[in-house]
């Protein structure tokens, strides 16, 4: 499992997974915003273009800012092209109306959500995803996260579609394709890495693992489809209604045991003073555009919070499953009575903890302490350095210290070891100490950063 074609399979799997949920989401939005007038496949083509183009750009040894600028300029061209072809197909190229369509749609966003705006947002997201994939180091963990994210978005999309009664085309094929690509990607990446939460009896046999995983999913799906029939659901519904009726009868019985209150005599009418006609009062009404804006903001905020909460929950559930399936790699294990219950309770506790943790979002943050310009300069350079390395496909892990990160990068770029060391050392001294750099040291640091930026870290992937 060391040849390039397997890495190619991983890319195909990620493209497939993201393509499936993007199609579902786009189809729903297309139905709602543009009455199905947009050609979704045409827009999704931009995803492949973005991936291919950014992969090519990655080979150029240009500064990251240049590559980013070029990439997004191409996106603008692609956006305009899609708007012209899909919305203004009949218009002559010389007519500039189609060029101004997007800015006009942005200006009118308070009043109406036009298809141009949908194209703008969707193409930006698609372009970003394609670019991200070009830079992504595909691993088993990344594949599982892709699957998790995709499943989450697809469930939400289908749920919303059923609620607003929109029928999504090819939904069955879409789900089958999504699971196919997910299983393929997870199995292949697992076999490539050899160590993961699916490791076990099949560790190292990626084809076996693939077959077992697919068979398992198919068998479970088959059993569910056999058991959960419309008649079965009808029986459950009738049973639930019967239980509910019984509960209501019990409540009615208890209520009948209580004595009915005697009707109280109405109090004598209170003499009312003569009403003085009020002065003409003109209540302040909020302008329509402000109300629309606030409504839009409120909806985005609520939807965001809802999605975030769901994301946290699904992460916890996946984490738990991952842990449950880990650590049985070929070893004999003893049955522990009560262990599952204890673990499940612990999982529920963590779930509750995570839900409560959402409150942290609303806590006021402590104000940043102002820094001296020299210290701020060094920290800013280190931030740029982190971005640069992350863009090249080597982001710092959250639990990595600056020195550990330095060793990782220095092993990839031995020629820049000295400059990398200089940047890290200066940063560490300013970040964790009360040291103040001199002008010369600051100059040296900038020079080192300039040297490091020119190193082709992206090629060492």
């Amino acid at each position: 499992m060391k040849s390039n074609w397997q890495k190619g399979v991983l890319y195909v799997a990620v493209i497939g997974i993201e393509g499936c949920w993007l199609y579902a989401l786009m189809a729903l939005l297309n139905n709602k915003v543009a009455d199905g007038s947009l050609h979704v496949f045409g827009i999704l083509l931009l995803y492949l273009i973005s991936f291919g183009l950014n992969r090519m750009l990655l080979r150029l040894r240009w500064p990251a800012v240049c590559l980013r600028t070029i990439s997004w300029l191409i996106w603008v061209a692609g956006l305009l092209l899609i708007v012209k072809i899909q919305l203004f197909g009949g218009l002559a190229w010389s007519d500039t109306t189609w060029l101004l369509a997007v800015p006009r749609a942005i200006a009118d966003v308070i009043y109406t959500f036009k298809p141009e705006l949908l194209i703008l947002i969707s193409t930006a997201a698609i372009w970003w995803l394609g670019r991200r994939l070009a830079y992504l180091k595909i691993s088993f963990a990344a594949l599982v996260s892709e699957f998790q994210l995709g499943l989450f978005i697809m469930v939400i999309t289908f749920f919303i579609a059923s609620q607003i009664e929109v029928e999504l085309a090819h939904s069955i094929y879409l789900i089958v394709a999504f699971f196919f690509f997910s299983l393929l990607g997870v199995s292949v990446s697992h076999a490539l890495e050899g160590t993961s939460w699916l490791s076990g009896l099949y560790q190292g046999h990626w084809s076996g693992l693939l077959l077992v995983s697919i068979s398992l999913i198919l068998i479970v799906g088959f059993i569910i489809s056999l058991v959960v029939t419309p008649d079965f659901l009808q029986i459950i519904l009738v049973a639930l209604k019967w239980v509910w009726g019984l509960i209501m009868k019990v409540f009615a019985f208890f209520a009948s045991l209580l004595p009915e209150p005697e009707p109280a005599e109405p109090p004598p009418p209170i003499p009312m003073p003569e009403a003085v006609p009020p002065e003409e009062f003109k209540p302040w009404t909020m302008p329509e555009f402000l109300r629309n804006g606030l409504r839009l903001g409120w909806s985005i905020l609520m939807a965001g919070l809802f999605l975030f909460a769901l994301w946290r929950l699904s992460s916890t559930i996946f984490g738990w499953l991952r842990r449950r399936l880990a650590g049985t790699g070929g070893a004999d294990y003893e049955k522990l009575p009560g262990a599952f219950r204890a673990d499940f309770l612990s999982f529920l506790k963590r779930l509750l903890h995570n839900l409560l943790g959402l409150r942290r979002l609303f806590r006021p943050k402590a104000a940043d302490k102002p820094l001296l310009p020299e210290i701020a300069s060094i920290r800013q350079i280190y931030r740029q350095f982190l971005h640069w390395a992350a863009d090249a496909g080597f982001p710092r892990q959250l639990s990595q210290t600056p020195h550990e990160y330095l060793y990782e990068l220095a092993s990839l770029l031995p020629e820049a070891q000295e400059d990398l060391g200089m940047i890290t050392q200066q940063y560490v001294r300013t970040r964790y100490s009360v040291w103040l750099p001199t002008e010369d040291e600051l100059h040296q640091l900038k020079q080192s950063w300039y040297n490091v930026k020119r190193c082709p870290l992206g090629d060492r992937r």
Partner: protein, 337 residues
């Protein structure tokens, strides 16, 4: 920065280098272990050396004690050892017709408690007051122990017959737990050569005096710990309390120990500030002996060392955040572009 603080790194580093090279005349290799003992010494903590017999636990303790030029006593723990054998007793002097206090072996700067788990829980418990409050109470009379005071205890984790495992309260009072491990092939050869003629321990001179050690301890306390690094140590400690595989998490004393030990380590390595690397490095020796893992974790082969390492690899290190830096109160991204 204070000029005194600036000098910390040099003075402590020089003393540490001297002591390490002196101990190395007896102990072959094991630089990291000797450094950890020194950390405990400078942080004012106690050390539990745990390993199989014949590895050099007692030799290490004796070599460190000899190098320090402080008073040194050794207590060989046995099941019939009594608390009064450790702390001392009041005896009746017939000449003066008065009760007089005869101090026990605990009244020394460095005390080596060999095979501590062979002493009964009653005798082990008499060390609690000595270790935490650096004093002993005998017949209602409280006597302060000499400063500096360090207990170096050894125990053999393999042999269980006739032993009494240390209670959690006792373990929590040890700053560090150290494992020596087998020497490498070259090191083992060097040991044979070195001990061929005579025992190098007999000719070992002291390189640091008691007064100097107290001064070094004070200097270590002056090492700067940035707020986020301090929070990082606390985060690791707190993470042990909510870990699924751990039944009893780290105590606040463990957080304090990690903080003090990291200051000492930074000073030994010639720095006047603590790095997250120091905290990471010390998390295992400071934490593991204070924790109790669940039986499920033990049965699945998850040792406490592994669990603590896993916790450390999951706690985010305080490095640059992704927000803009506040320069004199103004947020500015392009300032350095």
């Amino acid at each position: 920065m204070d000029e005194t603080v600036k000098g910390v790194n040099q003075e402590v580093k020089e003393a540490a280098d001297k002591l390490i090279s002196n101990v190395n005349k007896v102990i072959v290799g094991k630089q990291e272990t000797i450094e950890l003992v020194l950390v405990a010494l400078l942080a004012g903590g106690h050390v539990l050396i745990e390993d199989i017999p014949g590895i050099g636990k007692t030799m290490l303790a004796r070599a460190v004690a000899r190098s320090l030029g402080c008073s040194f006593k050794r207590i060989q723990s046995t099941p019939d050892l009594l608390p009064s054998d450790v702390t001392g007793i009041h005896y009746f002097n017939q000449k003066t017709s008065e009760f007089e206090f005869r101090p026990g072996p605990i009244m020394a700067n460095i005390v080596l408690v060999d095979e501590i788990n062979r002493a009964t829980p009653r005798t082990q418990s008499c060390l609690l007051e000595c270790m935490q409050e650096q004093q002993v109470t005998v017949d209602l009379e409280t006597v302060a122990l000499p400063r500096p005071f360090l207990i170096m205890a050894t125990q053999n984790p393999v042999e269980m017959e006739g032993t009494f495992p240390l209670p959690e309260a006792q373990l929590d009072r040890f700053l560090l737990r150290i494992n020596l491990g087998y020497p490498s092939e070259d090191e083992e050869g060097a040991i044979l050569t070195r001990f061929q003629q005579d025992n190098p321990l007999d000719s070992l001179d002291s390189v640091i005096e008691a007064g100097q050690l107290l001064n070094l301890q004070k200097l270590c306390r002056m090492v700067y710990v940035e707020e986020s690094v301090r929070n990082y140590a606390v985060a690791i400690s707190r993470a042990t309390r909510s870990h699924d595989d751990i039944k009893l998490g780290a105590s606040p004393r463990a957080s304090l120990g990690l903080h003090l030990a990291s200051q000492a380590l930074a000073a030994i390595r010639g720095r006047d500030y603590v790095l997250p690397d120091d905290i990471k490095y010390l998390a295992v020796p400071v934490m593991t002996h204070r924790l109790i893992s669940r039986k499920e974790a033990r049965l699945t082969g998850h040792s406490l060392d592994t669990i603590v390492s896993e916790i450390v690899s999951n706690v985010p290190v305080p490095v640059e955040e992704q927000t803009n830096i506040n320069i004199k109160g103004v947020k500015n991204e392009k300032r350095l572009a």
